[in-house]
Amino acid sequence: MLTFYGKGKESRIALMKENFVPVILDGYLRGTAAEKEFLKGCGTVGNGFTYISASGKKLGGDSYLGANGMAKALEEYRKLPEEDRKPKVVRPEEVGSSASLPVAPPSGGLRANVYFTYLEQDGKGDHRRALWHVEGQPGEEPGSGAGRNQVLTFVDKFWLTEAEWKSLLPENPAKGRSLPLPEAIQRRLVRYHALDMAHRSTGDKVRSATFSLTVEEASADGVTLRLEGATETGVAFEEAPLDGKNAEAAGLCGAELKWLGTLHYDAKKKAFDRFQVVALGNGWGGNRKQAATTNFYRGGDHRRWPMGVAFELLTTDRPIDRIPPQNANPYRGGDAYFGKGK
């Protein structure tokens, strides 16, 4: 990630866009059997970047801390014969079920980006994005390139099946009418997003969750709904250990959030064209030094960390827009994301 963070990275990105075909792969889901075999043969880097010819010749690799070997890889590439640079690529017919592929978006479903960031008081009675770094030292502005892990936005996806988003629409929408948020949707919001996404685990423990939908506008053109809610997940602040070993794995984090959102259904499009939700509150608990997967340091204090979550409807369909919610992946919750199984 740091390859793309901070000043002075534009030239590296330009070099990549101009001279490479960029591919992202979930390390746990490396594709079809043939694709996995191809990658194995190339000796791909575990966490980082590998430069490969279309034929499968490895040209170099870099760790995720910085793609510094691109220029050298290009040199190596240009030395290759035509058959390595421009081979005939045929997708082999897959046999059996050994493929490990990301989950596909549900047909006709609703997709949203979910953004998470830490906040801090701005001294004017409001919040701003937090500015601290992994080392716990006073940080420079995000994007400066200083520090190992600058404050950044964590991103996830939120998916609803067609039946689920349709369940948001009241049969007889009348302005002012209040209705409960469908249980499946509430469960998904609470279980996967009412938490500190960087430290992640609340052990799926829900202490309380209340949501409501209110019809703000209803006409032949569509329906506008206001979403409100409050959630308490994980352990209470007093029960979260300071620097508890494996606190995250043990689900000893906690969060409390207030929710507010606007959803708009366009009757002509027969689809929601706005799904805009904000959750504001605090998180706590977790390891003193760093979160297991994010290297995200929160200092040594046991205190409440202001944080925010924002949902935004996805209206594009690029490959990166089809990335599944992390908990819908088979190595996480899999079908449980959609309420099946555990």
Partner: protein, 78 residues
């Protein structure tokens, strides 16, 4: 428990009150939780996620592949 609940209400309600006070405030809060202008440089990259298709494209255009793999989804939390 009462102390904890009181803290939560006191700390969270002002922010929500501001949210309820107008669409502008809500939009502003929503916007500043999203990635900032200088943050998501990786999103400028036209990533492909289908290795087979990417190999075909690389062969057709005479370019090498730039393969980013992580333990998990690279463009999310990792």
């Amino acid at each position: 428990m009462i102390k904890q609940a009181a803290y939560f209400i006191i700390s969270a309600l002002p922010a929500l009150a501001q949210d309820r006070s107008g669409a502008e405030s809500f939009e502003r809060r929503h916007a500043h939780m999203k990635p900032q202008a200088d943050e998501w440089k990786w999103a400028q990259v036209p990533w492909m996620s289908d290795l087979g298709e990417a190999r075909k494209k690389a062969a057709a255009e005479g370019k090498p592949l730039y393969v980013w793999t992580m333990a998990g989804e690279p463009l999310g939390q990792c």
